[in-house]
């Protein structure tokens, strides 16, 4: 395949290609036919492409991001605050709130009563990582994960907050993290896109997802995340019309190719040759994607590990299993979203359900990757877009309360490629309201991820409308404390 591309490329004699060759990209990105820049000879694009590559030896080759959309409360997951028990119902001291802006949902509240966690915590693993009883399976992998309790953001509403996490900017329009990775590193698999997106939904109060979260912004649309969906058409228009055999499809493609070849000979437009190649890639995807989705080669023990839901298309568990299969196949960035984590009320009840959806499969993914030797170069991230307030929103009982959005501190965990396992990083105050030690801003988080992927976040840039853009905008510091 590489030879074919090279030949076409030589044939069409694009200067940009030669310049790439001279720098040695040939060995790197040609695997991704999904990078159109190879064909377009867009010098601008290429100029920005190369500086991103191999600034350091990468510790991770790929990312699986388990996004918990809606924002799970840190107080019921990973930020254990035993002292709150004694302060049940007391007003949150103004010295702690420090005038932090509130959303329109609680800014009118006259009281801000402290709501301790309904669920208990236990310590797990060699370092005694605190994890709530909602997540017994994640507890079992405590030695493999790094809990960060001091993520913080500026956004206090879902849309800007999740957009910030994924694109580095609160307003939409910039490329998402996965698009940057596709653009900077390409795909390792010539039969699958570099960036794939899977969604699922729990029963908890949910917020929508938006195509711009996996959009390519001002990068070529080829870098946008490709949705992988449960059901018979996992990739849009993948399936041939009913009854068409593979041989018939092949025959038809040969007809199209012959006509296009003829057109190329007459018009001499290299774009026509590129089109022939893209049809070939499409054809290969028609085989590679169904193979990917077909779980019959998964052993019973694997199914048991992820839980029975992993055989039900469209569930979080099924998506976790697919994520592993995508990682095995070298897909650069696998983005999962699980909706339903927005507990403004009825939190204990709803969080229990949400946790049940994700606990076993999240842990299984880590275990499974580890067993297969993939965890060492796969970076796994688990978390939402912000945290939740220590004070109660709305109705308040010991076993029923809600929490509003909280940007100043929240917890996520990371595991795998280049992450220091078994630690808890960062400290928050007794109320889980402010960061006391080792804050991690979203841009720091993004800078660190890029570093683990071998990219200097200040150098992977794209010039758009005269400005050099990067995922971390104008800030971002690497967090060595979480790196192995």
């Amino acid at each position: 395949m590489q030879k074919e591309i090279l030949e076409s490329k030589l044939n069409i004699n694009r200067r940009a290609f030669f310049s790439k060759m001279s720098i040695g990209i040939g060995s790197l990105a040609l695997g991704s036919l999904l990078i159109p820049d190879l064909w377009k000879g867009n010098d601008d694009d290429m100029a920005a492409l190369l500086p991103g590559l191999s600034h350091f030896a990468p510790k991770a080759k790929r990312i699986i991001y388990l996004f918990q959309s809606g924002a799970p409360s840190q107080l019921e997951t990973f930020d254990y605050k035993p002292k709150l028990r004694e302060m049940f119902g007391q007003e949150l001291p103004a010295s702690i709130r420090q005038g932090q802006r509130l959303t329109g949902m609680t800014s009118g509240q006259t009281a801000f009563p402290i709501a301790p966690s309904y669920i208990n915590f236990k310590q797990y693993g060699q370092n005694g990582t605190w994890i709530s009883d909602f997540f017994p399976h994640i507890g079992k992998i405590a030695d493999d994960i790094c809990v960060i309790r001091t993520l913080n953001t500026e956004a206090i509403n879902h849309d800007p907050a999740i957009t910030f996490f994924q694109t580095g900017n609160q307003q939409s329009g910039r490329p998402s993290m996965g698009a940057w990775m596709s653009y900077g590193l390409g795909s390792e698999n010539e039969n699958l896109p570099a960036f794939m997106v899977l969604t699922s939904r729990g029963k908890g109060n949910s917020q929508g997802l938006y195509a711009h979260l996996w959009g390519s912004g001002f990068l070529d649309s080829v870098h946008q995340g490709v949705m992988l969906r449960g059901g018979k058409n996992p990739v849009l228009y993948l399936k041939d019309p009913e009854g068409m055999s593979q041989a018939e499809r092949r025959q038809m493609l040969d007809q199209i190719a012959a006509l296009n070849q003829n057109s190329y000979e007459q018009m001499g437009d290299p774009e026509t040759l590129a089109r022939i190649q893209q049809y070939e890639m499409a054809y290969r995807m028609q085989t590679s994607v169904p193979e990917l989705m077909d779980l019959k080669d998964e052993s019973d023990s694997t199914v048991k590990l992820y839980g029975p839901d992993c055989l039900v298309p469209g569930t979080y568990a099924a998506n976790c299993l697919l994520a592993r299969r995508l990682a095995e196949r070298g897909v650069r960035f696998v983005q999962l979203y699980h909706q339903g984590w927005d507990q403004h009320g009825n939190l204990p009840n709803e969080m229990g359900g949400q946790a049940k959806d994700v606990d076993q499969a999240s842990a299984a993914l880590i275990t499974d990757l580890k067993q297969r030797g993939l965890l060492e170069d796969t970076l796994v991230i688990w978390g939402g877009e912000f945290g939740r307030t220590v004070f109660c929103q709305g109705e308040f009982k010991a076993d029923n309360y809600g929490r509003d959005h909280h940007p100043r501190c929240f917890s996520i965990w990371m595991a795998g490629g280049g992450i220091k396992p078994g630690i808890t990083y960062g400290e928050t105050d007794d109320f889980s309201y402010n960061v006391v030690k080792d804050p991690v801003h979203i841009h720091d988080f993004q800078a660190t991820i890029m570093n683990l992927m071998g990219i200097d976040h200040e150098k992977l840039i794209f010039k758009h409308q005269g400005r050099r853009y990067r995922l971390t905008d104008v800030s971002g510091k690497i967090v060595p404390g979480i790196m192995a």
């Binding site: 200067r15 377009k40 492409l49 939904r201 938006y210 296009n260 409308q465 005269g466």
Partner: protein
């Protein structure tokens, strides 16, 4: 990776200079970037050669942004370039004629990394060629020029060229540049291909059968002119032009942020189509959109036009802070105004002075203040609200349509509520927002415009109407250039200024600056007549050339910036789908009306919806609504039509004047398996079979219908062989054939043989998938 840039800059030098020893240079160029070191211009031009380097590598710290300016040195102004050094008043940044005596040059080549500029830790550097350009510029006297796009355009005397027919102003400028590069134009395109090109360009649709009948036989220039005039009168012209304007205007049928409820802006879209079809002068077209409500005695039509400034996203997320989002909306209007009409990226100066262009943060908010007095709030109603048209708004009743707005395609039914602009009786005070933050008020500002473009004279009224007058003032350097360049881009694929959204210091330089200026002045001086401008473009010999690419032209000018061949590019998403509908005669030619929901893969809205609101589920339309032109497809911003995104349409979140053009496997899958295509294929097959009564004849007819030309004998031979083989196979599998004819909702035509029809529909699918079919 400066090499790639070198290559490109090299072309800019050619553009600016024209007459360098082209032959030698071009052959050097084809050898690869390493040979480019020799490609130095003899006479260095500040705007074309020097400033792009200064802007890109130096302005970030020594440019317009006063906050970030280092060493109190700025290189973006004449004063700054020639000023004395802060610490050594006897020394100067640039000493004309004396590179060694110029601090700028000394710093560029300094051996001490602490003295070297740009500093190594900036990740910026100059290559040898660029350094030599700076040196040569200083040596040649360091002549300074204002930024080219901020100088008022003038018509330069037309160049003399010798070529039969190439004597229109467009052709003379294009040919003169070609001759500098020793390129020869192509011959005229073959007549059927030319008909197809101009139909697609002017109407977004392939030639109708009526057009072929009327114009197909006579390839004379006079007949071509008649064809162009005919097409410009078709209602499909307005639809085609509106498609571009919807991108510029970030038009959508939903609010956009997370709950993403529906809105009713389609009457505004109908007005855009109407405006293009009635050839509304561009200055009026824009002035009404900007300020229809503030003009004397505004009509309902003028009010409706102002919907332009309400097309931005609007949140419905409970709990947002009102002012934060209201400021977002005003920001969007300000950014859209500058990008859409002036090709300036003002958004950079919301948080700080612009890094590259002479626009201060204060000036940003002076412009912002024009759009800051709309009686609106950040969050008006959540997803459960009855009307999702946030005030200010207008109500369009059946009587309104009948009496005053007849171009709105509104079925007698509920009142349509459209968001429009309104000005508060007492304008809000506008403050500079520090770091762009909604609640960090700095000094208050008065309404105004960027002085480097054109100061806001007192004679203009200090409201949006005055702003529109300012935009169309004969002294405005940008408005006409930006629009004529966009129109050029629509027809040639790339603008004369490639960065059609950025005419600032970081934008690209024009390949044909005199031509751009000629077009701009001519457009302005002839009443901003859009159809006239387009007519000039498509009647040029430049446009009519064959698109065939010789090996040499591919080497010398791979992007066809110098137009020694006709334009050739993949069609837009809308054109590809409309082409299926039109060639199969499934198309529903209705103009305007509420947006429609054609076929879409199941579950796309359901997978990601917020669990509430009227747009949770995609409810596909039926019957004739399935066959409306693509610009009428319902645009839900958080889940746009997948076909559109796959074929490079923007998300419509923001003003996007230029689309990218990619070539991907997902496009191939879409082309092969979209039910809209499969249905069109079987429908065309059935009708041709009925008409011809003969499968073999029908193969040839299908080819002609789709590609507007007869198949070559080799093409025909191939397709016939395939058809006959498939017919035979399908005759032994009648069920299969029947099944193939069931895709889509249109009833299968009666009285055709299923295996013949199925085999023929496969042939049509092949033709629909040809590169030539989706290329214009």
């Amino acid at each position: 990776m400066q090499r790639g840039n070198k290559t490109k800059k090299h072309w800019l030098w050619l553009a600016g200079l024209g007459a360098i020893s082209s032959i030698v240079l071009l052959s050097e160029c084809a050898k690869g970037p390493d040979a480019l070191g020799t490609a130095l211009p003899d006479v260095v031009d500040f705007n074309f050669h020097v400033k792009p380097i200064l802007s890109d590598r130096c302005f970030k710290c020594h440019g317009p942004d006063a906050q970030k300016r280092e060493a109190d040195l700025r290189l973006d102004t004449k004063e700054g370039l020639f000023q004395a050094l802060e610490k050594h008043k006897d020394q100067f940044v640039v000493v004309p004629g004396n590179p060694e005596g110029s601090e700028m040059w000394r710093r560029l080549i300094h051996e001490d990394p602490d003295q070297l500029m740009p500093p190594p830790n900036s990740n910026l550097s100059l290559n040898e060629t660029e350094k030599t350009i700076i040196r040569r510029w200083i040596a040649q006297g360091a002549k300074y020029q204002k930024h080219w796009a901020f100088i008022l355009p003038k018509k330069a005397p037309l160049p003399k060229v010798k070529h039969e027919n190439w004597d229109s102003p467009i052709d003379r400028w294009v040919l003169s540049k070609m001759q500098d590069l020793r390129l020869q134009p192509n011959d005229r395109e073959e007549w059927p291909r030319l008909i197809r090109r101009v139909c697609l360009d002017l109407t977004g649709l392939p030639p109708t059968e009526a057009v072929m009948k009327k114009f197909g036989a006579d390839d004379s220039p006079a007949n071509y002119r008649r064809l162009v005039d005919y097409l410009l009168k078709q209602p499909t012209f307005g639809e085609r032009m509106a498609t571009h304007w919807l991108d510029v205007s970030r038009y959508a049928d939903s609010h956009g942020y997370q709950d993403d409820g529906p809105r009713t802006m389609w009457p505004w879209r109908d007005w855009v189509i109407h405006a293009f079809n009635t050839n509304m002068p561009f200055n009026r077209f824009v002035s009404w959109q900007l300020a229809g409500d503030l003009l004397p005695n505004p009509t309902k039509e003028m009010l409706l036009a102002t919907g332009f400034n309400r097309n931005h996203k609007i949140t419905q997320e409970g709990g947002v802070i009102q002012e934060e989002y209201r400021i977002e909306y005003v920001t969007d209007r300000t950014n859209t105004f500058s990008k859409a009409f002036m090709g300036l990226t003002m958004e950079c100066s919301k948080c700080h002075d612009h890094k590259y262009d002479p626009i201060t943060q204060k000036e940003y908010f002076e412009l912002f203040s024009f759009f800051n007095s709309v009686p609106e709030v950040g969050l008006y109603g959540d997803i459960s609200a009855v009307s999702l048209a946030d005030p200010p708004r207008m109500y369009i009743h059946n009587a309104t349509v009948r009496d005053t707005l007849p171009f709105i395609n509104k079925k007698p039914m509920d009142t349509a509520v459209v968001m429009i602009m309104e000005e508060m009786a007492k304008p809000r005070t506008t403050f500079v927002l520090k770091r762009g933050q909604y609640d960090a008020h700095g000094d208050s500002v008065e309404r105004g415009t960027p002085k480097s473009v054109l100061a806001f004279d007192k004679k203009f009224k200090a409201d949006r109407a005055g702003l529109a007058d300012w935009l169309f003032s004969p002294k405005h350097p940008l408005t006409a250039r930006v629009f004529t360049n966009r129109m050029w881009m629509e027809f040639f694929g790339t603008g004369i200024v490639k960065s059609s959204e950025d005419f600032g210091n970081q934008g690209e330089l024009p390949t044909h600056p005199e031509l751009l200026d000629w077009l701009a002045v001519d457009f302005r001086d002839n009443g901003w007549d859009v159809k006239r401008l387009i007519r000039q473009i498509v009647l040029s010999e430049t446009y009519q050339q064959s698109a065939a690419i010789s090996k040499r032209k591919q080497e010398v000018d791979p992007e066809n910036r110098y137009l020694a061949r006709g334009p050739r590019m993949r069609m837009s998403a809308e054109m590809i789908r409309d082409n299926w509908l039109a060639t199969s005669n499934l198309i529903n030619p209705e103009v305007g009306g509420p947006s429609v929901k054609p076929y879409q893969p199941e579950g796309l809205w359901e997978d990601t919806n917020p669990g509430r609101g009227p747009l949770m589920f995609y409810k596909q339309d039926k019957k004739e609504k399935l066959y409306r032109r693509s610009l009428y497809t319902f645009w839900k911003r958080t889940a746009p039509p997948p076909f559109m995104l796959t074929f490079d349409a923007p998300m419509r979140d923001y003003c996007t004047p230029k689309r990218t053009r990619t070539n991907t496997p997902l496009q191939a899958l879409n082309m092969l398996n979209d039910p809209q295509m499969l249905e069109a294929a079987r429908w065309l097959a059935a009708n041709l079979l009925k008409k011809t009564g003969n499968g073999e004849t029908a193969v040839s007819k299908a080819f002609e219908r789709i590609l507007t030309r007869s198949p070559e004998s080799s093409e025909l031979k191939q397709l016939l062989a395939y058809y006959q083989a498939r017919r035979k196979e399908l005759q032994s599998d009648k069920n299969r054939a029947e099944k193939m004819l069931q895709v889509g909702e249109v009833a299968q035509a009666k009285g055709v043989n299923p295996s013949e029809c199925a085999a023929l529909s496969e042939v049509v699918q092949i033709i629909y998938n040809m590169d030539e079919t989706i290329t214009k």
